[in-house]
Symmetry: C2
Subunit: 315 residues, 2 copies
């Protein structure tokens, strides 16, 4: 591919690191709506400013930057504008030496954060921040339940909830992932495969139910979140891997729950999330592959055995 050039309000970034999301793998498998080919995939990336567009004055060439992958969210904080999209399909993404993005999507990397760490954060970090904080209103008073803690977003949700001082309860089918979750601050870990009733265990560990649940499993897991939540609790959904959920309206109205849909993150979410990482918080990284081993990296994400992010080193 020829090196891209920035438009008047864009910035050309020389990438040093990128990171994978399940989205990238789904696209290679044809499992994503509106696929347009050919396309360089990759939503997450960090590097240095290589060239500014005609109307752009900063950050200076050479500045270390990370990319907000949500292109064109728009002005409504509640939901993205029509035509907005995630970097890396349809527009060319970060699995490359160079990428061009709108200048408003370019953020200086906090000094405390290395390039690989910065590249691991964007899509999963902003999705977790919006689900947990903006939508879920998480505070230190919360008992947060995180089913399926292995995924990139759930790992960030655990990291952020622990950082905010909340008590955290996580589930996984893997004892190894639960062990790593404990290292990130999880207070209670439950293996849902070997538990006779993970729902009862979560309730017992939360004094009558979590005050906040963050779910992307969907199906019966999402339905259970409503059933075990404490009265006046919040259940945030940012995905539905296991499909339709048969819920009991009684759990919803009798306990006066807030069930809140969340997706990606707004520009304000990205900025607030990045500010948290300026204070020394570090993302969980499972493994770093060189860019030319991207196929192996994608197979790892497809298998789902990683804990935290899978990063690509480009430079």
């Amino acid at each position: 591919m020829p090196d891209p050039t920035p438009g008047a309000h864009e910035i050309l970034i020389k990438l040093t690191h990128a990171a994978l999301n399940r989205r990238d793998v789904f696209i290679t498998q044809g499992l994503y709506p509106g696929i347009v080919l050919p396309c360089i995939l990759g939503a997450d990336g960090a590097g240095t400013v290589a060239q500014l567009g005609e109307h752009i004055r900063e950050p200076a060439v050479g500045t270390r930057v990370v990319i907000d992958p949500m292109i064109g969210w728009g002005t409504d904080s509640r939901v993205w504008a029509k035509g907005s999209h995630v970097l890396g399909m349809p527009g060319d993404g970060t699995f490359a030496e160079y990428v061009v993005v709108p200048a408003v999507n370019v953020h200086e990397i906090p000094a405390a954060l290395g390039d690989a760490d910065a590249a691991a954060i964007p899509l999963a970090g902003t999705t977790a921040y919006r689900a947990l904080v903006t939508r879920g209103r998480c505070t230190a008073d919360d008992i947060v339940f995180l089913p399926g803690v292995g995924s990139g977003v759930q790992t960030f949700a655990l990291l952020l909830a622990h950082h905010l001082g909340a008590r955290t309860i996580v589930t996984s089918s893997s004892d190894e992932k639960l062990e790593r979750a404990r290292a990130l601050g999880a207070d209670v870990t439950i293996n849902y495969r070997t538990s006779s009733s993970w729902q009862k265990e979560v309730r017992a560990a939360s004094d009558g139910g979590p005050t906040l649940a963050i779910d992307s499993v969907g199906g019966a897991t999402f339905a259970s979140c409503l059933d075990i939540a404490r009265p006046a609790g919040r259940v945030v959904s940012y995905g539905g891997t296991n499909g339709d959920a048969t819920i009991r309206p009684f759990s919803l109205f009798w306990k006066q729950l807030d069930v809140l849909g969340s997706s990606m993150g707004s520009p304000a979410d990205f900025r607030a999330m990045l500010a948290l990482f300026a204070g020394g918080l570090r993302p969980a990284i499972d493994r770093v592959f060189p860019l030319d081993e991207i196929a192996a990296a994608a197979r790892l994400v497809d298998a789902g055995t990683q804990f935290g992010k899978v990063v690509l080193a480009i430079a």
Copy 2:
């Protein structure tokens, strides 16, 4: 039954009118949790102050008053306290000449409102107010969808939404109820029995989906509310007559919906709701029965063919 006497912080009310709710009928059929007998039923009532408890100074004996039927909500605006209950089981209720209630539950009737109208309002009015306004945050900018408009609460929701200046879309299986809903201000009425797709009709009438749906049907109707709601819309559930609902998490997270459970109303909800009726707003009353024809009144509510409230005249 002997006439009751008020405790130190209670008030004895001589009732002139009461009103029925489905709850009263469900209790007579054994279809309610925790039934304690014997008991005088009835949550809704209005009358005059007959006697003040020892520590109570107002309102003066003879003042026209209406009762907030939610006893002991407590101090959390989000959800009632344990031990709180609705008037009329387990405590004796309003289908009687006299009733004793906590003084904090007694409110002066606005001058614009007759006793029969005041008696028709409490439980359904406060439930509708909380669902529509407190939880649903309804404003004049909303397009409000109200499935099953015949019920007491939905009729109040229609009345209040129209009063707040919102556009309203209602469904019913009865053309007669839809005709009465139009008279109360419904902008669009749809017969879901004869429509080939009421979901498509609602979307077409709302420029891409309602911004707010208020549901107590549950089941497939509740699930449809999520599917047809506009992005960033709100869906409030205050009941689930048709039971479990199989929902698509995709509708919830992709559109970033707020799905909000609501039940009864707090003391603040009751006061705010009553204040709206001080301005000349009037409840929809289907029929007034004398108290000694209460069995016929209950059969009407059980049949569900009424539109608005069924009132009892006691004096």
